[in-house]
Symmetry: C2
Subunit: 352 residues, 2 copies
Amino acid sequence: MTKKNTPSRNENRGVTIADVAKAAGVSIPTVSRILNDKEYVAEETRQRVHEAIRTLGYTPHTQARRLRGGATMTLALHHPIESPHDLSSVIETSYFTGTAEAASEKEYFINFLVSQLTPEALLNMYRSNQIDGIILLQVRMDDWRVNLLRENNYPFVMIGRCADLEDLSFIDLDFETAMVAAFDYLVELGHRDIGFLTYPQSWHKTGLGPAVRSLDGYQHALSKYGLRSCYREIGLNSVEEGFEGTNDLFRENPELTAIITVSHLTAAGSIKALTQHGRNVPQDCSVMAIGFGGNFASVVTPSLTTLEWSPYEVSYRATILMTEKLANELSSAQQILVPPKLIVRESTKEVT
Amino acid sequence: MTKKNTPSRNENRGVTIADVAKAAGVSIPTVSRILNDKEYVAEETRQRVHEAIRTLGYTPHTQARRLRGGATMTLALHHPIESPHDLSSVIETSYFTGTAEAASEKEYFINFLVSQLTPEALLNMYRSNQIDGIILLQVRMDDWRVNLLRENNYPFVMIGRCADLEDLSFIDLDFETAMVAAFDYLVELGHRDIGFLTYPQSWHKTGLGPAVRSLDGYQHALSKYGLRSCYREIGLNSVEEGFEGTNDLFRENPELTAIITVSHLTAAGSIKALTQHGRNVPQDCSVMAIGFGGNFASVVTPSLTTLEWSPYEVSYRATILMTEKLANELSSAQQILVPPKLIVRESTKEVT
DNA sequence: CTGAAAGCGCTTACAG
DNA sequence: CTGAAAGCGCTTACAG
């Protein structure tokens, strides 16, 4: 096995604008102009410079350009979570890919921040010119990040939304509409005894949007149809909690004919519990989930009827929004509410 | 609604090292030294400078530091895929979070590249100093990215591995071992008629590691136990393909008592097919999946026995490896093979 | 222990 | 149409 020499920095790296200028027999500014399609340049000069660029394999130094240009052309996507290890159960891959795709289209870099951030650290991201803007995930009704960024007038965009939205741009899932839509659908099928397994109490207490707004929507739906309240606040990301929540619900309300959950995981637990107690889904009880779709829905047996959003699309749009804001292309704050899509699969059925 | 003025760049941004120097009544290099804990500085001066830094809210300009320092302190993670939209079905979130976490610990930035990359574009990432190194995903036995990077002597690390590994650093899942381990486990339970739903033929043809090595491991296992071959190459990411693949397999081999799949999705399809044909899992037939774990396994009913790896850990380690390589902390190429962990759940059982 | 000088690679007025 | 000069914010020898 021949041992090769592995230098830490590469030789190719050395080609600078000065090299190109020398090779083409012109000055550095001239090369720069040609690179940036500025002003008038003699066609013959342009040819010569391009020739030099090609033979030298020159590419402008991104960092230097950015230093000169003032903008970092870098965005951050922040999800506050104690343990990044667990993020996979909280957020879908498509959030990353949607953001990454939009950023790359707009020639921005994107940094994913998946940790608890101190106010100091957040400010430093801007102050030290690491980022031009940030996209906030998991926004609370009263969110310190929003307050801080707003005070300091640093550009940001939310996926989600806080309480005071004046002049703020966001894209959010419309949970209120989703809840009512779920009831519209189930009531239409003849259901009147509907149980709801919602977000954990801790989410509600800390003012997390989905928790607060789902419950609001739930109340609307109840009064719209004159139904009585029947819900449990349970953990989001475990089949077990769905299992136990469902058992709980049925112990006190054996008459239920439908269950709405806010995660595919708890829906799966719900189905497990029902099946185990001899209730067939959807024959004896319908189950539906509100949330992100993806592959989960069809893995479950029976496959899940859902009201879902595309995290890819939502994050893509949020990122485009961020770049537009930075380019001053937004005349006013953009506030976008995305309605969910109803996808009927096998887990729901009319009451017999 | 009061209309606020939204300047595009922020005022706080202006604080530079020169401001600090002036405020503290010292020269710029002195501030720089203090910032970087260099050499001897009079304690009294240090105090004064720190004081100025604090009151001005100064943070060093990252881009400028990088320009001066030579390194971009930025890494890329590349997954080649035609449609980034579909990435969520191919790769787990934990890949991103593991990478992001390691990068942030080492004070690197990380850019996720989730698109088809041209050779030209890949070289440009280095030439234009956008990145110091790249982490390659979905590596083929003969991978143009590897060849190109190697030729140009640009630093990279693989999650996966190609055929010629001389002097290359990687961390890969040990699929051969996994296959044999699956058979060890099932044979121990008394199974001798075992069907295998493996990666699609296209993967095998393009030389994708998991496809090639799973099949190799499969052959080893067969000859180890003197069993006959019985497998199908099917699509990875759909419940349907698992469903149909299983039906296919049983049509010609009704005697099968166990199925091994390489994805949770196809395993779910497998269970669906078996159940639908009146075969109880695991009573009449065991099903197990080789691959990443996560929440999928317990969503399925019965929950899946798996041989699994943690994508968080694998990507975390790969990223650390990359930073070590860049810091020249690696005396030789690191080649790490990660064995899977067997997690017995409900979907497997001894032959009765 | 500290400052004046040069330079990282580029771009943008400013003259010609 | 093109070049000389200044500067983006920082760090690193080099003198003192």
